[in-house]
Amino acid sequence: MSEVLLEARRIGKRFGGVQALKDVSLTIKRGEIYGLIGPNGAGKTTLFNVFTGLYPRDSGEVLFAGSPLSLASPHSVAAAGIARTFQNIRLFGNMTAQENVMVGRHVRTRAGVFGAILRTRAERAEEAGIRRRAAELLHYVGIADRADDLARHLSYGDQRRLEIARALATDPKLLALDEPAAGMNATETAALRCLIEGLRKDGLTVLLIEHDVKLVMGLCDRVAVLDYGEKIAEDAPDAVRANPKVIEAYLGTDH
């Protein structure tokens, strides 16, 4: 098993006249927390959307777990083992927390219409498995007591957790979190940090976009910095912090 989980080679993406991503290459190693930072509009979320198949890329390729990743459709990316959360939380608001996580199991289960109508033994066993796994995951992220509440009635922090649980339900190899701490208070951020560290301890690879520099620097093994669609640095957090190009991107030239 190779050490590299995801390798992006010269990814390019253009929206009309805006070059959102320009030849971005990066490698994410197994078991690490990889941070992606950059000023607003640097292309972080665009890169995310390319990795998860929501946007078609214009150029470049992505190798995932040793084989080329088809980025044709989001669901095949999910099937390959990349799960994500969204910057602005996207839950199924009128479904319960438990059901939200159960939807996440879709890609790892098989039952079709006939299984459901006939309630075959296989379908019932699978359904019980889905339910069990969903309960486990809710417990794992710490919102087991909210299982039967509608997702939209959960507190902001719990919604973030639920989104992570739903992503985990797809059995990902790589979990991509898009600004998970956005809008959280200090206590919630600390709890989130514990959760992400727990994920790493359990062997998951995490790709993290975050504005909270303290969180990124404290959590990540390596950090890449994007600016105007280009990668300007990729290194350990301390080295990135000292990188003059990064300082320039964040603070301007005359500092």
């Binding site: 669901h75 479904m95 159960m102």
Partner: protein, 372 residues
């Protein structure tokens, strides 16, 4: 710390909900038995008021079936379909062509109904495949167009090859027949007279039961959850690993199949089909039943369909005598009043119960939350 707290409350909750579930299931069972008995006895009660009422009931059940089919598309998957009646038409014409003197074919109904469902299902896929990239209003417009295209085809496919007999429609369609039991004639068992419509009623009831069971099971399944997920947030559903195109297509195909079966039974009961039965108004009527009853909730949809089928008929039979008794003459034509009351009912529903008379549990739960 968090786990201990939640662990305790979880246990308490489980206990509470189990007790609640037992009480509920017991009450539910008694309720179901009562409803079953009432439904079994219904046609004989109605027959005493005239066979016409049994027929009206049969058509009401057909509309309930249609609404349940459309509910899969609109209620579960959230795809607005304004041409649903086209699948009803397809089912009806398949039955008419395979069991009438038109082509001289007289296949038994238990062969034709599945064929009708399959052909309608195919029509659903043909409509769905190219259009499901569209959403909301755009999808509604395309489906509306599809519904009209199907009707116009049926109107015009009388030459050069006479397939549908055009606007004249197809006549003398075979009624159902199971062995010696003909659905067109009356049979007497003891003192009970089983007229044709009464036999159809029981058959429809059986089909309805099957459709309800299928709907409920689908709703609580992997596929049903995927439908609701797409309705709630398509992008999140996609990113969560759902092949949204296929799952939406499946919703269309399932809905269409139910429409096809209902159409076949309609042709047999009516004994006659023509394009006129499948106009846009009918599509809108079925949609109104789904919305009025409560999108997504099977029982709400049934209630909505029953209400919108019966109330106009009741008005038809009561308005004229009432006016004559009160004013001595007919002031408002019953037909006019029907539409007036219908419109008023829809406006009032939208004003006071926007989620429908009997909304989906998810919505209802959230409305009641303050009180619990």
């Amino acid at each position: 710390m968090k786990t201990t707290r939640s662990g305790v409350s979880e246990k308490a909750n489980a206990c509470e909900s189990r007790r609640y579930a037992v009480a509920k299931s017991h009450r539910e069972r008694v309720g179901l038995v009562l409803v079953a008995v009432a439904l079994m006895a219904l046609p004989f009660v109605l027959a005493s008021a005239g066979t016409a009422w049994v027929r009206i009931t049969n058509f009401a059940v057909l509309f309930v079936l249609l609404s349940l089919g459309l509910n899969i598309v609109v209620g579960f998957a959230g795809l607005l379909d304004l041409g649903y009646i086209a699948f009803y038409a397809v089912g009806a014409y398949v039955y008419a062509l395979l069991a009438s003197p038109h082509f001289g074919l007289h296949l038994p109904f238990w062969i034709i109904l599945p064929i009708g469902a399959a052909v309608a299902c195919l029509a659903g896929i043909v409509l769905g495949a190219p259009t499901l990239r569209l959403r909301g209003d755009y999808l509604a417009i395309v489906t509306l167009g599809f519904g009209e295209i199907v009707r116009i085809f049926m109107n015009n496919l009388s030459s050069p090859v006479n397939l549908t007999n055009g606007p004249k429609g197809i006549n003398r369609i075979d009624p159902f027949q199971i062995g010696p039991l003909k659905f067109s004639a009356s049979d007497t068992f003891g003192s009970l007279i089983f007229s044709g419509p009464i036999k159809y009623y029981y058959f429809l009831l059986l089909v309805l039961l099957a459709v309800i069971v299928i709907n409920r099971r689908l709703q609580d399944s992997r596929i049903g959850r995927a439908w609701v997920a797409i309705r709630e947030d398509e992008i999140a559903a996609k990113a969560g690993g759902i092949n949204t195109r296929n799952i939406k297509l499946l919703a269309f195909a399932m809905g269409a199949s139910f429409g096809g079966i209902a159409g076949g039974m309609f042709a047999a009961i009516q004994g006659f089909v023509s394009p006129e039965s499948f106009i846009l108004n009918e599509s809108i009527m079925v949609l109104a039943m789904v919305v009025l009853g409560g999108m997504g909730n099977i029982w709400g949809v049934i209630a909505g369909a029953a209400l919108l089928s019966f109330v106009p008929e009741l008005l038809r039979y009561t308005v004229e005598p009432a006016q004559r008794a009160l004013f001595g003459k007919l002031l408002v034509d019953p037909e006019v009043l029907r539409m007036l009351v219908f419109g008023l009912a829809l406006v009032l529903t939208m004003r006071f119960r926007p989620a429908g008379l009997w909304p989906e549990t998810r919505h209802r739960r959230e409305l009641n939350e303050g009180r619990v």
